[in-house]
């Protein structure tokens, strides 16, 4: 799991690539939690390069969603590949996490 952080005025954009599985999920969780601690309560996760999300990955997303919510902010995802989008739909995560097609749309959702 590779993570690139880009702090924008509207939101902190975290571009992830690789597999969000049992190995990758803690990396994303730790990094984003640190960002929330630093004050970035609006997180945009760009998943365009994420090829796979496991149940451990979903759990991490849930943890982060709760964390930004209690920090008074929000979390949005964008650029999901079809298989990852299927996982979100099947698990019902699309009901609690805003999914957007691209970054611009996601930033709109975070406003």
């Amino acid at each position: 799991m590779q993570l690139t952080v880009d702090k924008q005025p509207q939101a902190t954009i975290v571009a992830a690539s690789g597999k969000l599985d049992a190995a990758g999920a803690p990396e994303l969780e730790t990094r984003c939690k640190a960002l929330i601690q630093e004050g970035s309560n609006r997180l945009l996760l760009d998943f365009a390069q994420v090829e796979y999300v496991s149940s451990a990955g979903l759990r991490s997303l849930l943890v982060l969603a709760k964390a930004v919510k209690s920090a008074g902010g929000g979390l949005a995802l964008c650029g999901l590949v079809p298989t990852v989008r299927d996982v979100m739909t099947i698990s019902g995560f699309d009901n609690i996490l805003p999914l957007a097609a691209d970054r611009a749309a996601a930033l709109e959702l975070l406003k």
């Binding site: 496991s54 759990r59 698990s91 019902g92």
Partner: protein, 537 residues
Amino acid sequence: MKLLTWYRRQPVRRKIFIPFFAITLFSSTIFTVYGFIQNVRAIENEIDKRLLIAALTMPQLLPPDYFDRVQTPDSITEEEHWNNTRRLEIFLSNVGGTYLYALHQVSNRYYFVASAALDTPYWTEYEKPAPNIYEVQKTWEPNISTTPDPDYGLLRSVVMGHKDAAGRRFIIGADIHAYEVEALKRRAFLNFFLMGFASFLLAVIFSYAASCSITRPLNRLSTFTRRLVEGGFSADIRLDAAMFPDGNQTRAETAILAYDFDQMQANLAEHIEQLKLTQSARERAESELRIAGQIQETFLPGPFTPAEFGGRVQLQAAMKTAKQAGGDLFDYFALDDAHLFFAIGDVSGKGMPAAMFMSAVVVLLRSAAKQWRDPAEILRRVNDDLAIRNESCTFVTLFVGILDVRTGEIVFANGGHNPPRLRSAAGAVAAVPTKTNMVVGAMEGQTFVRETLALRPGDVLALYTDGVTEAFNEADQLYGEARLDRCLGALPAEATAAEILRGVVADVAAFAGAREQSDDITMLVLRCCEPAGAKTT
């Protein structure tokens, strides 16, 4: 080259000793030979000086007018001659020589007119004069030479002239046997050889001791190392502290080496001890996880008996756990004579937390199923029970169904789980269309949609966890739904639930090849059968 190779292979002690030995041998030989040659020269000089003194002193030992009186064979009385002879003999024996004499030449013949030898009377003819007798007459200066005398052998001799008052020339000679000189030289040689040999021996002993003192600590270290290896690097095996009395505050390299070695051993023993602790901790963790897996299995139901429900339904379920204890689960039991409850689920994450969460899910699910009999309500209750104070955000995807074995109708609710596959009696395979609901345990207050599905005889419902479709092969590809559907479709129409399950598991295993299983693989297969005997509803 060969010698050099041989030398390189020698132990350190010999490496030090061999050059020491060679240098010592060389230098003692040089010193012995040089000293001997110098000494031989000194001996020769000394003897020549002695002979010269004897020759010069001789006239003084005779009466002052003696040579003037030597005229004819009768000039000197026998008595006087023997008196002189005795005097000369005593003198010569004190000085150290063989012969001392005076010669008188009369018409090319030479006569002894004085001598230290008792066997030479006055006027005895010297019949075969040595070459130096003629030689001295050329200058009358003292002549020193080694002369072969036909009668007396090889001599070192001094001959010189002596004038009497009338100016007549006499020849005075002093000789010593060459073999006596040689004996002196031999003694000198023996002395020098013994001295040289003694110093050589001393140097050899010293260098041997020195080489041993260098290699002894090395030998002790190597013995220690061997002991260490045999003793499994035990902390009890320590180096004798006498080998480094001043710790590392010394300039003796071997002591420093020994000290460092001892420190290394102490550190090594500590590391090994720590390693053992770490190892045992890991082994404990692994065994705990294994036991957790065993406990987990006890939460799973026992085998489904075909006789249940009059053979109208076959059910086969199996779980193949990955290396770590996982969070997959399945369950089934008869609610009454006509209703079969079944469920499959996958807890997020792996290891001990997932295993513990799974146990809670199974317990909650069973009690809720017995109480509510409605899959949607069951999920709602389980969800709320799990979600309260669920700080870790662990959740479970659950597919829960209740089959009415009389009609084949299934009432189900899907809490974020993969849609099951349905194979019709005709062989067509498709995903069961389900409404999407949230996963179970993530958030309180969720509601779940209750749905229905009708199974006809010969239909097969295959429930699975993502361990099946998300099995990776060596090329990092996913098994996927398409392969699963193809596999299910390819299995014979009359295949039992057990055969279908085995077929899919085998297909997934063949696909994964040598790739390690990363997630639990769990399947639950339901097959609706023609009722045994007459067709009734």
